[in-house]
């Protein structure tokens, strides 16, 4: 039911997530922000079990901040991705975090990057990624229309197409989506796509 997807464009990376907090058949709220801003130039879209998601993302965010305080420089996106993978892998055989993550970041020297990290700690650097039932629609849509070095407008348009596809074809489609973007000017919320107000 939860959908998170992302893609890399020319000088930016985009992460889109649904904003529903669901318990069985009840929608608790439809403005739950699942894309955490890790630091100035990183976005982490997370989907999975609600408690694990909140705990794990906050844990990662605080540790990323701690690294910056201790060392005076921020982590690169690749380093943050590997840190997350390490934490997930360590917990995997004790008390696994059921959280799937799409990490988007912008580094001055390497540009935008997107990382796919699933709940069993498989890490891979990708151009487009998606999790959840929505991934069946989002990935196919992106396979068809994505090309490298898209502009922000083209990428937003593609994200909207994916959202439309999820809305029309998924039986328990989420009501609202949030789009966040990260580029050289930082990580920020771009816009929402709502069907209901909360």
């Amino acid at each position: 039911m939860e959908c998170v997807f992302g893609m890399v464009g020319k000088g930016f990376a985009l992460v889109v997530a649904d904003t529903s907090a669901v318990n069985s058949i009840l929608v608790h709220k439809s403005n739950e922000d699942k894309i955490m801003v890790l630091d100035s130039h990183k976005l982490m879209g997370a989907s999975g079990e609600a408690g694990d998601r909140a705990q794990f993302t906050e844990y990662v965010q605080k540790n990323v901040a701690l690294y910056q305080y201790r060392n005076g420089i921020p982590l690169t996106t690749k380093a943050a991705a590997n840190f997350m993978r390490g934490e997930l892998a360590t917990a995997l055989r004790k008390n696994p975090y059921m959280v799937n993550i799409v990490l988007a970041g912008f580094d001055k020297d390497t540009g935008p990057s997107l990382y796919f990290i699933d709940y069993i700690a498989t890490l891979h650097k990708v151009d487009k990624a998606a999790f959840g039932y929505g991934s069946y629609f989002a990935l196919s849509m992106m396979d068809r229309h994505y090309h490298p070095n898209m502009t922000v407008d083209e990428a937003i348009k593609l994200a909207e197409q994916c959202i439309e596809e999820i809305r029309s074809r998924l039986v328990v489609a989420p009501q609202n989506f949030v789009i966040k973007i990260v580029d050289k000017d930082g990580a920020r919320e771009h816009s929402w796509r709502r069907t209901t107000k909360d």
Partner: protein
Amino acid sequence: MSIFEYNGSALVAMVGKNCFAIASDRRLGVQLQTIATDFQRIFKIHDKLFVGLSGLGSDAQTLYQRLVFRHKLYQLREERDMKPETFASLVSAMLYEKRFGPYFVQPVIAGLGEDDKPFICTMDSIGAKELAKDFVVAGTASESLYGACESMFKPDMDHEELFETISQALVSSIDRDCLSGWGGHVYIVTPTEVTERILKGRMD
């Protein structure tokens, strides 16, 4: 579905005349869904030693990081690179350490030993070594690979013929396996150089 078939993989290593070849597919999947078509399964430990890790992608990444750590420590202490036979014993020991909670990987180790003699071996997920003189296979396509390699292999091939043979064996096997594919990645290693090539097969 078995945990070994979660991500999908295909690995093969072959021995030639003073050279060896190691090849893998490039698909990273989550059961039926393909996530990426450029996943790296074969890793260089040093110029004359390569290890391929098939099975669960996460455990392959964890095990690779631990192996690099152990090899770097060995290099610092011994001031030389590890021999392939030694490395194989190391991998076997590390896997058996987790006997009752194993890494879900099947490694394929290939290297040039003393006097540049080619060495290949594979092992199961708890470290049972299987040395071979001709070829070793691993992954979801292993049964097809056994057949293809058995029929195509000849002893003492030079590196060009070896490349052709291993490529054909790999591509024909992964084309018949839905969980592996999206091309191939082949490394040909001779005492003087390492050649890396990407193959294009059925991209599905």
